[in-house]
């Protein structure tokens, strides 16, 4: 055991550093050159479709897997060769991991607290996660949501500097999910750095300061949720049912237009604020009334679909209807403050 983990100057050293990480299984690259850095006190999201290499990436951070090549550092320590020191500062919630069926909630909390030199008090933690009524229940008798909450409690019981939570709200009902998000925000407020793996957009958008979108083993984009949305081809969508047919030429001439669709007399256009203003001007000029006019911002879903080239099925939060966005927005004057990551 190493003693006190090496601590960098506040803010000077990222608490997690992943550099050009590669890992193959049977010759098939699962993680193919992933790099990112997580700053102290941040909630950092790893987002991506199933099989993108998210879990393998965080398993290398947790020391569960040995990278084929590349560098992983947690508070400056190597998770493989300095396992015990890293495990002492890193709380982990694994996807689909269970406990002994006949172990009670109380026993599990006491057991895991005993693994760490300076554990958190487990009773307030159990209270916060709504586990107090179930302390004497055996793990095998818990519901899926209760198991998930216990798993989160065990990730926190060692009073870690960093927690890695893999699919943390999967299996939780919407109420428990929101409670869990609040808990994660509280944890961060307490100075803990949070790395979450998710494929759930609303969760990423709500919680994360920054997100690495991983697709096919590579970082497709790394940005704030707002930054990712701005990158989306059609960042703003306007739709309406015109009282009279609009001239197709006028529509196609709209500035910054990304896509256009007609369906059942309804027109859906995606582009930027500039497009929206031009549509309103066009409507006024031609004296066409727009029924059921809706303007919506693109969501992280849209950005995600653009970045990963996915066709759909990205979750329940989509508020805009995708129109055939065949081309990316070009020539927009959108400020490019985003951080590009070599892929």
């Amino acid at each position: 055991m190493c003693g006190e983990p090496v601590r960098g100057d506040a803010g000077a050293m990222p608490v997690i550093e992943v550099t050009d990480l590669r890992k193959s299984y049977g010759g098939r690259p699962v993680v193919d050159g992933v790099s990112f850095a997580v700053e102290e006190g941040e909630i950092f999201g790893v987002l991506g479709p199933n099989g993108a290499g998210k879990t393998t990436t965080v398993e290398c951070v947790e020391g569960l897997r040995v990278p084929d090549s590349g560098r992983v550092r947690v508070t400056g320590l190597d998770p493989v060769t300095e396992h015990d020191a890293v495990a002492g500062v890193l709380g982990v919630q694994l996807q689909q991991s269970e406990l002994q069926a006949k172990l009670t909630v109380r026993e599990a909390l006491e057991l895991y607290a005993a693994f760490y030199p300076r554990p958190a008090a487990w009773r307030p933690l159990a209270e916060r996660l709504g586990l107090t009524p179930h302390l004497n229940s055996r793990f095998g008798k818990l519901s899926g949501g209760q198991k998930q909450r216990l798993s989160i409690a065990l990730a926190l019981v060692g009073d870690p500097r960093i927690v890695v939570l893999d699919e943390l709200t999967t299996g939780l009902d919407p109420r428990a999910r929101r409670d869990t998000w609040e808990l994660i925000e509280d944890i961060r407020a307490g100075g803990v750095t949070v790395l979450i793996v998710t494929h759930f957009m609303e969760e990423a958008q709500r919680l994360c300061d920054r997100i690495a979108v991983i697709d096919k083993g590579r970082v497709a984009a790394l940005d704030t949720p707002a930054g990712l949305i701005r990158r989306s081809a059609g960042a703003t969508v306007i739709s309406f049912t015109p009282s009279a047919p609009l001239d197709e030429h006028d529509l196609n001439g709209l500035p910054a237009l990304v896509s256009i669709e007609h369906r059942d007399g309804r027109v859906t256009l995606s582009g930027t604020d500039e497009t929206v203003n031009a549509v309103i001007t066009l409507l006024a000029r031609t004296r066409v009334t727009a029924h059921q006019l809706r303007v919506t911002d693109a969501t992280l879903d849209d950005a995600f679909l653009d970045l990963t080239g996915q066709d759909g099925g990205a979750g329940p939060t989509a508020t805009t209807e995708r129109v055939n966005a065949t081309g990316r927005a070009t020539g927009t004057d959108r400020p490019d403050t985003t951080e590009e990551v070599p892929t």
């Binding site: 020391g63 569960l64 897997r65 015990d84 495990a87 002994q100 172990l103 693994f115």
Partner: protein, 254 residues
């Protein structure tokens, strides 16, 4: 071999306490490892002819010959049926993996399992010796140190076999099936159907090369007051080393 080889923390008091507690919550394990061997001895000992000296047992009473068999039975059931299923289930359900992310590591769980089943097997042996002595007048081993040495080696061989069975089984269900398949030959060699003293010479010779056959021979010699034969102890030790090496080679943490 994707997970890093764990190095330290084979023993952890909190993990051991938890595993002892969990073992006691499994009525099946408690019965078959702790009570069944002694119960079998008591049933056999209740048959009047088993309490009469028998020339085919070298002048011993059958009940005398069955005490070492009962002593071995607990460690065979625990090592071949109990531990591999538990360990394989722990791997299958990600319990080993979860523990591997803590400073304590998954080795602590393996170590605790070995201590629990090894300890239960020794308790079971003690119970058999005590019941044999008090209920049926079977003398305690006349060479207690030789007896203890043979018994500890037999426990080590059984645990190594259990670890290997778990290493070779992907699921707890497979471990159960493989364990059952190994259980009957192991029980046969230990002399459950026919104690080794009563086996024909050729059969006894062959059985003597198996771990539990060698253990039975060594226990019989120590019970009679001799130091167990070097060849039996060597056979047991060689099996333990071989099985351990194979288990280490193939064991997976996930």
């Amino acid at each position: 071999m994707t997970s890093p080889a764990p190095r330290t923390a084979v023993l952890n008091a909190a993990v051991l306490r938890t595993e002892v507690r969990l073992f006691r919550r499994e009525p099946g394990g408690v019965f078959w490892v702790l009570l069944f061997p002694t119960l079998l001895l008591a049933i056999l000992g209740s048959i009047p002819s088993f309490r009469e000296a028998d020339p085919s047992f070298g002048g011993l009473r059958p009940v005398d010959a069955y005490v070492p068999v009962a002593v071995l039975l607990g460690l065979i059931v625990g090592g071949v049926q109990g531990m591999p299923q538990t360990l394989t289930a722990y791997r299958e359900h990600g319990i080993l993996r979860r523990m591997a992310t803590t400073p304590v590591r998954a080795t602590a769980l393996l170590g605790a399992q070995m201590l629990v089943y090894g300890g239960a097997a020794l308790l079971s042996a003690l119970l058999s010796l005590a019941v044999g002595r008090t209920a049926f007048g079977v003398p305690l081993p006349r060479q207690p140190f030789g007896y203890l040495l043979a018994l500890l080696l037999a426990v080590a061989a059984a645990l190594a076999l259990g670890a290997l069975l778990s290493a070779l089984s992907r699921t707890a269900k497979i471990a159960g099936a493989v364990g059952s398949a190994a259980l009957f030959p192991a029980m046969f060699c230990a002399g459950v159907w026919l104690p080794v003293q009563a086996m024909p010479d050729l059969l006894a010779g062959i059985v003597g090369w198996t771990p539990f056959g060698a253990a039975a021979e060594a226990l019989n010699q120590a019970a009679a007051g001799d130091w167990p034969g070097g060849i039996h102890l060597a056979v047991l030790a060689a099996w333990t080393v071989l099985l351990t090496a194979a288990a280490v080679r193939w064991f997976r943490w996930e």
